[in-house]
């Protein structure tokens, strides 16, 4: 029966790994809860974050423009052959440049910058007449768009200049470029055609970018390449995780093999333990795949550490077998061990079920993976070990004998001065440490991208002055017009923040297409201030020696142009989005979105130059109390979710202690606390230690405390079980388990991934403390000395 089940698992695994060529998921976001309460918000994220996720930006910098172009062409030539992987940026055609501003130009009377509005309200006619004259006489008067008569006061060119200020990126010779301290950087925009977090994408794209970089360097040796993109970070992350997964897996396996060899001096127990671990891992992977349709890489990393737990059952059985009377049949031995085995399994499962109850999909997957793995390892021990191991199979080694002896040296807790002193010292340490303990749930602290990537990212962000994709305002309204009007109210609140350099600017659809209301207001402002009969036109005519008919003609030209523009239609986001000029603004307009409250219109107001996170509250405040405006901060949202689950897990941990205590109480009665005390002491010690060394508490520390409970209870049970000849072999079991757990989790502490490091560090200290203190909580000293 069991053989059949294992065969099935084996087949399924073979099918998954070899047949389908599955790759684990590496998106850290996939581990976080999906928030589906607000579809509009969800779509906004998709718009901003997902689009940003698929983007790769490379800046090709050189000493001069010609070199930059040569290098960029070499870079592009490599990528051009792989258009199925990467879509490279559009070449700017002459046509698109010329048509760029046509729709806005027709509507020029409706488009004003805030500064122009203020000037039109305040400045006298003379100011405007002088401005017009100065432009007329000057050989160079700044950018000029179309005929002088169409923009005599330079309002439209001023507006275009303001729009151009929204990005430092400029077109030149069909390329996009930015300049920094005299160095031109050509901007290459690429879009991934496959998900950035897929390992297959990473494996294909990263070498390709590398290759393109080599080509660029060959063309221009002094070229400077600055690359950024989520795929680069994801690639670095998964490479690291894969590396660590194999290091930890192989390290703990080797450690276990070595320990087994020292203990039993025989290959068979090693094979058996491997068998139970393999059964557990195969089953865990298979079933998780069936249930979730995807297995996350972190689950596998976490799963690799599971080996440290899954072996406990096998070790327990093997050690007992070595110790037991030769006349005792293996199946009888199993029956005798059953209560202890069941208890250890139940305690571990209780711990993991706590994890599975969280709404964290990632935690649920890890918990389920672990429960399945443990269950199958346990079942393998129960079904196969008695059949495969007879009393004559095993012989204790001298190492085993020596190790068993060492338990004698442990002091026992008794009502005496030494115990009291130890308790007092520990309490003092615990209080002083825990009092200093801080928490940190910032998602940013969970990611440590390689330094070079981070430096590139920072440089690129500075050069491009691009808006942040994770913090923005979401503006909603019943109609497009209402959304634009609400944007305009919001923008008034943002102007002072731009002036005080909290942000360098903002991108909004209403910058390009003001609301009808604003367009109307702009038109009447211009008409009143500039086109009135006694206005600047009259003064201008006098200066130029023109007559009243010229004034009339200029006036009519301005007004009729505005009236006939776009076939008499006002400028709308829909119309604007069809033009080439909207390309950089398309991510801002969500348009009509279906939500539970019916369909609404929504847009994003994005912020540029936000580089001090301490200013986030100011920005949040700016959007408060405005109708239909919502401040969205994905980073703090995720961080607060992490914080929420850290607290949640804290309670689950306490609950697990209580539940396991009840379970133990049913068997050990008043001695149950002796089993629970070592993990509890270890947990308190860890919290205090974190406080002392100034490391803030994270969710992943709490997760590790959960596992310490699961493992620590095992050790307590082994030492407490009467069925086992409780002397050296119980201690040997604990020693073997703890040593191999330390090996596997200790390696995790070396991980460069902060969550794994936190987890591993906690386990390292915790297991060591449990191991060292567990014998102290025994009821009495071992009866048999030899």
């Amino acid at each position: 029966m069991w053989a059949l089940a294992v065969a099935l698992l084996l087949a399924h695994n073979a099918y998954l790994w070899l047949g389908k060529g599955v790759v684990p998921d590496t998106d850290i976001m996939a581990l976080l809860p999906v928030q589906q309460r607000d579809p509009v918000l969800q779509q906004a994220f998709t718009h901003m974050v997902d689009a940003a996720q698929q983007r790769v930006i490379v800046l090709v910098g050189a000493d001069d423009w010609v070199h930059a172009r040569t290098a960029a062409d070499a870079y592009n030539a490599v990528l051009a052959k792989h258009s199925a992987l990467l879509q490279t940026g559009m070449q700017l055609s002459e046509q698109s440049q010329q048509d760029w501003l046509a729709p806005s130009q027709q509507m020029r009377l409706s488009l004003l910058t805030p500064a122009q509005q203020a000037a039109l309200r305040q400045q006298p006619a003379k100011y405007w007449a002088d401005t017009a004259l100065q432009q007329l006489y000057s050989p160079f008067s700044g950018p000029k768009l179309g005929a002088w008569q169409d923009d005599p006061f330079g309002l439209f060119s001023g507006w275009v200049q303001a729009r151009a200020q929204e990005t430092p990126v400029r077109p030149r010779d069909g390329y996009l470029f930015v300049e920094d301290k005299g160095r031109p950087y050509i901007v290459l925009l690429m879009t991934l055609r496959q998900p950035a977090f897929s390992m297959a994408t990473q494996r294909a794209v990263l070498p390709l970018l590398e290759q393109a970089g080599v080509a660029a360097r060959q063309a221009v040796p002094s070229v400077e390449l600055v690359s950024a993109g989520v795929v680069l970070h994801a690639g670095a992350g998964s490479a690291q995780a894969s590396r660590e997964m194999s290091t930890i897996g192989i390290g703990s396996l080797l450690g276990i093999v070595l320990l087994m060899w020292l203990t039993f001096r025989s290959l068979r127990p090693i094979v058996l333990i491997m068998l139970s671990i393999a059964g557990g891992c195969l089953a865990a992977f298979s079933l998780c795949w069936l249930i979730f349709g995807q297995v996350h890489l972190l689950t596998l990393v976490f799963g690799a550490s599971l080996i440290g737990v899954a072996q406990d059952y096998g070790i327990y059985f093997l050690c007992s077998r070595t110790a037991a009377d030769c006349k005792l049949d293996s199946w009888q031995l199993l029956r005798r061990l059953m209560p202890g085995l069941l208890l250890t399994l139940a305690a571990a499962v209780i711990g993991y079920v706590g994890l599975a109850l969280t709404p964290f999909p990632g935690l649920r997957q890890m918990a389920l993976f672990s429960v399945i793995g443990l269950l199958f390892a346990w079942l393998t021990v129960v079904f196969w070990f008695p059949a495969l191991v007879s009393a004559s199979t095993l012989n204790g080694s001298s190492f085993a004998a020596w190790f068993g002896q060492t338990r004698r040296h442990w002091p026992l807790l008794q009502w005496n001065r030494a115990t009291l002193l130890a308790a007092l010292l520990f309490a003092a340490f615990a209080f002083s440490g825990i009092a200093r303990l801080k928490v940190n749930d910032d998602i940013r602290s969970l990611q440590t991208p390689p330094k070079a990537l981070l430096a590139d990212q920072i440089k690129l962000g500075k050069l491009l002055d691009a808006p942040t994709p994770v913090q923005f305002y979401l503006v909603r309204g019943a109609s497009a017009e209402q959304v634009l009007q609400r944007e305009e109210v919001l923008k008034q609140k943002l102007e002072p923040l731009v002036a005080s350099h909290i942000i360098s600017g903002y991108q909004a659809m209403s910058n390009w297409t003001p609301s009808m209301q604003a367009q109307q207001a702009n038109r009447s402002l211009v008409t009143q201030a500039l086109l009135a009969p006694d206005g600047p036109l009259k003064a201008l005519a006098a200066q130029l020696g023109e007559d009243d008919s010229w004034i009339k003609q200029m006036r009519e030209r301005a007004l009729s142009g505005a009236a006939s523009a776009n076939g008499g239609q006002a400028l709308t986001p829909e119309a604007f989005l069809k033009t080439a000029a909207s390309e950089p603004s398309r991510h801002l307009w969500l348009g009509q979105v279906d939500s539970q409250q019916g369909s609404v219109y929504a847009s994003i107001v994005a912020l540029r130059g936000l580089n001090n996170y301490a200013n986030l509250p100011v920005l949040k405040q700016a959007g408060e109390q405005l109708d239909g405006v919502q401040w969205v901060d994905k980073v703090s949202e995720i961080s607060s979710v992490l914080g929420h689950y850290r607290q949640y897990m804290g309670w689950v941990l306490l609950g697990a202690y209580a539940a396991i205590f009840l379970l133990l109480f049913s068997r050990y009665r008043l001695a149950a606390w002796r089993v629970l005390a070592p993990p509890a002491v270890a947990s308190i010690a860890i919290l205090a230690l974190l406080g002392v060394i100034g490391q803030p508490l994270q969710l992943f520390h709490v997760l590790a405390l959960m596992l310490i409970l699961g493992l620590g209870v095992d050790y307590g049970i082994f030492l407490q079980e009467q069925s086992m000849q409780r002397d050296r072999f119980a201690w040997l079991t604990v020693g073997l388990s703890a040593a191999s757990a330390l090996l596997s989790f200790g390696l995790l502490a070396l991980s460069g991934t902060p969550p794994l490091h936190a987890f591993g560090f906690t386990m390292l200290i915790g297991i060591a403390v449990v191991w060292m203190t567990a014998p102290c909580f025994s009821q009495d000293s071992p009866r048999e000395e030899k």
Partner: protein
């Protein structure tokens, strides 16, 4: 602005007279003089006449001071363009905000200094030499630039004498230079300070 941005640096194409003209030009480190400008704009009957003083300082920039009909100063430095109306700054563009400023400055600077080899990167040059004088027609290599600037004609001898700009819109500007002085004494202290 977008239209101006399309300028380009192309392969150096040198018609034979251009080298000759280049050799004729004096190109002193400092050059100052008087300019007379006449602008004929579509939709305005009378030509707009203005005059003033200009200075071109090699490596520093250009000062263009209109004195008639009203005072106005245009100052081009490597990284910025400033337009002063009396004491009021009417316009300021700097390269940090607007990367194209450098290119615009480069063109204007080369134009006034008669630096044909620089202009050649942006324009096709076609010229002829007669005795001590020469003339060159400039046609933008990029259509967008052609649309923005139109065509230019320069005439001169040891120095540029006239610049004529014909815009696609039909506007026409003629600038002629006279009373040219070179050397350190050419520039007044006031002008020197303005360019610092």
């Amino acid at each position: 602005m977008a239209v101006l941005l399309a300028a380009s640096a192309c392969s150096a194409y040198a018609a034979a007279p251009v080298d000759k003209i280049q050799a004729m030009l004096a190109r002193p480190p400092v050059l100052c003089g008087r300019f007379d400008q006449s602008k004929q704009l579509v939709g305005i009957k009378k030509p707009l006449l203005s005059n003033g003083r200009f200075c071109v300082v090699n490596g520093k920039g250009v000062l263009w001071r209109t004195l008639q009909p009203f005072p106005n100063t245009l100052r081009l430095k490597r990284d910025e363009i400033v337009q002063m109306q009396g004491d009021r700054v009417a316009m300021r563009m700097d390269a940090k905000q607007e990367p194209v400023v450098k290119m615009i400055n480069g063109v204007l600077f080369s134009l006034l200094a008669g630096d044909l080899s620089q202009l050649e990167t942006l324009f096709e040059l076609d010229g002829s030499v007669t005795g001590n004088s020469w003339n060159v027609a400039l046609k933008a290599r990029q259509p967008a630039l052609a649309k923005a600037i139109g065509t230019l004609v320069l005439t001169g001898g040891a120095y540029v004498k006239t610049v004529t700009i014909n815009e696609a819109s039909g506007d026409r500007t003629e600038i002629s230079f006279s009373g040219l002085q070179s050397g350190s004494s050419a520039m007044t202290a006031e002008e020197g300070a303005a360019l610092e």
